[in-house]
């Protein structure tokens, strides 16, 4: 691997990875006495699939929450496209093109699959409330245009047949997929996935892995994901950050991480998966 500072690198399978999109610098996050993240730095590069792994309670979800603006770190900086990001509300982060899914599914249960996916387009829809009240001109046009984009994503994730089904009626695995569809609908620059395969069976995991690879491949979306299944992580990711008790104990390609003694001790040795 050739990791030149700002040029990016080429992966083993020949994909070109670009410059740094998101950089976390010396992030520290405390909840009262609990230190969830301790002085962690790492970066996410354009077009790569970046994994964050670590045992339960290591602070992985907290890290995603810092990126998406839910948690405000006591210390450290977040740089987006090289610029220091001021403190932002989650909806402002979303408007910058960062989408995510949650460890516990966070869909809109009262709405259909299609409507859920359409909510992913809200950051792109800006017709005035007056135009919508009359449903003429921009409002109607905008609805149709964005519907087309959503339909493409629905096709892509193979959920056409449940388009009009209320989300509350779906099984767990499909809900995870709909949540991914909603995140994709916003055409994010950076996609954060918090345990996209948790609680899935092998088949569902394979489907999901394929979708994640396809998203990265077809749309060139930069992806940061948290995952417990080491097999999946090793297959999918270009680079891996390993966390334990809020500290970063490893960072590198899957191979480098796998052979890192600190990681073996702290993580692989502890939980046998």
């Amino acid at each position: 691997m050739t990791l030149a500072e700002d040029m990016g690198y080429t992966t083993a399978d020949g994909r070109k990875i670009g410059g740094v999109v998101m950089e976390m610098k010396n992030i520290t996050l405390r909840f009262g006495g609990v230190v969830a993240i301790k002085d962690i730095s790492f970066d996410i590069r354009e077009g790569e699939i970046r994994a964050i792994i670590g045992p339960n309670g290591a602070g992985k979800s907290s890290m995603l929450n810092v990126i998406s603006g839910f948690y405000v770190p006591q210390d450290g900086e977040v740089l987006f496209h090289g610029k220091k990001r001021p403190q932002m509300k989650p909806f402002e982060v979303a408007q910058q093109g960062i989408a995510r899914t949650f460890q516990n599914i966070a869909l809109f249960e009262g709405m259909s699959v299609l409507d859920n996916v359409m909510t992913g387009r809200l950051t792109h829809m800006n017709s005035s409330i007056w135009s919508q009240a009359l449903w003429k001109g921009k409002a109607e046009r905008e609805e149709v245009e964005n519907r087309e984009i959503c339909e493409r994503i629905i096709d892509f994730l193979e959920i056409q047949s449940i388009r009009k089904t209320p989300v509350a009626r779906l099984p767990y695995g499909l809900k995870k997929r709909v949540e991914l569809a909603r995140a994709l609908a916003s055409e994010p620059k950076l996609l954060l996935l918090d345990e996209p395969m948790a609680g899935m069976n092998v088949e569902e995991k394979e489907d999901m892995s394929r979708f994640i690879l396809d998203v990265n491949d077809e749309f060139g979306t930069t992806i940061a994901l948290i995952e417990h299944d080491m097999g999946v992580v090793m297959d999918l990711s270009d680079r891996v950050v390993v966390m334990d008790y809020g500290k970063k104990i490893g960072d590198g390609t899957p191979d480098e991480v796998r052979n890192n003694q600190a990681v073996i001790d702290a993580y692989l040795g502890v939980s046998h998966d």
């Binding site: 909806f91 989408a99 809109f108 009262g110 950051t123």
Partner: protein
């Protein structure tokens, strides 16, 4: 003719976005509109208009308004009576200050004033939710009634403390005052209801409506997809109060004609409209109509059957009404939170499969 969408394929997303995607529903909708605008006006008399049609039309507007806030955006409000009072007093002040301007314009402006007041009282919703928000809107209810009772400017310093609607016309036809014709007041309110319902339907199917529903279903997830909770909640308060204000203005100007605020717009009114949307169906425009129709018709029906028909004493019939409404509220809350509208949907789904249910 079978009731289903088979053979009625949508070839564009526009078609799929229609309010009534099934042809049969569409025809029924046109038939109802035709009857409401072109048939009923010729048939109505004073009794029908005052006992049934006016309250139904006006409460439907209020129910649509409240449904936007509670059913679509998930922000509970017990201040409907107070906001209707704002509409009523706003229209009264406008009517008396600018007698030459059309009453229709006054009604719309009164809705606008109520929208502004609604946004002010909606501000706490940014900090508090659920039960606490309900209590805050309850405070708004009592404050507004107190305000209109206490500040004589609002009732133009009249000795009785009441407000009375002077005679006003629209296109030369009287719509307020004791001599207004039944068909005229009926049509006037019908036009407002139709416009309000169309606007509500349009808003709830577009991006504004999705923002509201996102906030309702899960506010954290709504934020993560880029919904600003401030503008989403306050726009729901504004639109909701706009409709509620219009209904208050019509309730005072066209229906009652004279109003004592505590009596006409007290806490009972807040609960009545809330019950309408619970029974009719939260998050459904059709449900707002159904709930309003139900709670307007029920007392009329009970009175006719029990008092006039069976000779029951009036107060006994009134008590029975309370019990029926109370029982229904509990039943709907437990068994069918989406109300009559959901029962209607289920019936339609069954009908779509008929006559081969398997």
């Amino acid at each position: 003719m079978f009731y289903r969408e088979a053979g009625d394929f949508k070839t564009s997303y526009q078609d799929d976005n229609q309010t009534f995607p099934i042809k049969f529903d569409r025809y029924r909708y046109y038939a109802v509109l035709f009857a409401a605008f072109a048939v009923i006006p010729f048939l109505v008399n004073d009794y029908w208009v005052n006992a049934i049609f006016l309250p139904f039309l006006i409460y439907s507007i209020a129910a649509i308004g409240l449904n936007i806030l509670v059913g679509y955006c998930g922000q509970v409000s017990l201040g409907t009576g107070g906001f209707m009072a704002v509409g009523a007093y706003a229209v009264y002040k406008l009517m008396t200050a600018f007698p030459d301007v059309s009453f229709a314009i006054h009604v719309v402006l009164a809705g606008g004033v109520t929208a502004i007041v609604g946004v002010m009282f909606g501000l706490p919703s940014l900090r508090i939710k659920g039960f606490y928000l309900a209590v805050a809107t309850l405070a708004a209810q009592f404050f507004l009634v107190w305000l209109f009772n206490r500040v004589p400017w609002f009732y133009n310093y009249s000795a009785s403390g009441q407000i009375n609607a002077p005679v006003r016309t629209v296109f030369g036809v009287e719509v307020t005052g004791p001599t207004a014709e039944p068909w005229a007041v009926y049509l006037f309110c019908l036009v407002f209801l139709t416009l309000c319902a169309i606007i509500a339907r349009n808003l709830t199917r577009g991006s504004v409506g999705r923002k509201w529903m996102a906030i309702r279903d899960m506010d954290i997830a709504a934020e993560i997809i880029g919904v600003n909770p401030l503008t989403a909640k306050l726009s729901a308060f504004a639109v909701s109060s706009f409709f509620v204000g219009i209904s208050g203005a019509l309730f005072f100007g066209v229906y009652l004609g004279a109003v004592e605020v505590g009596e006409a717009f007290g806490i009972n009114k807040s609960f009545l409209v809330l019950f309408m949307i619970i029974i009719g169906g939260l998050g459904s425009i059709f449900g707002s109509f159904a709930g309003a129709a139900f709670l307007v018709l029920l007392p009329v029906l009970l009175k006719n059957v029990l008092v006039s028909g069976l000779g029951w004493p009036t107060d006994l019939a009134a008590h029975l009404e309370f019990m029926i409404v109370g029982g229904l509220i509990v039943t709907f809350l437990i068994l069918e939170p989406h109300g009559l509208a959901q029962l209607w949907r289920v019936a339609k789904e069954k009908l779509r499969l008929w006559p081969f249910p398997h």
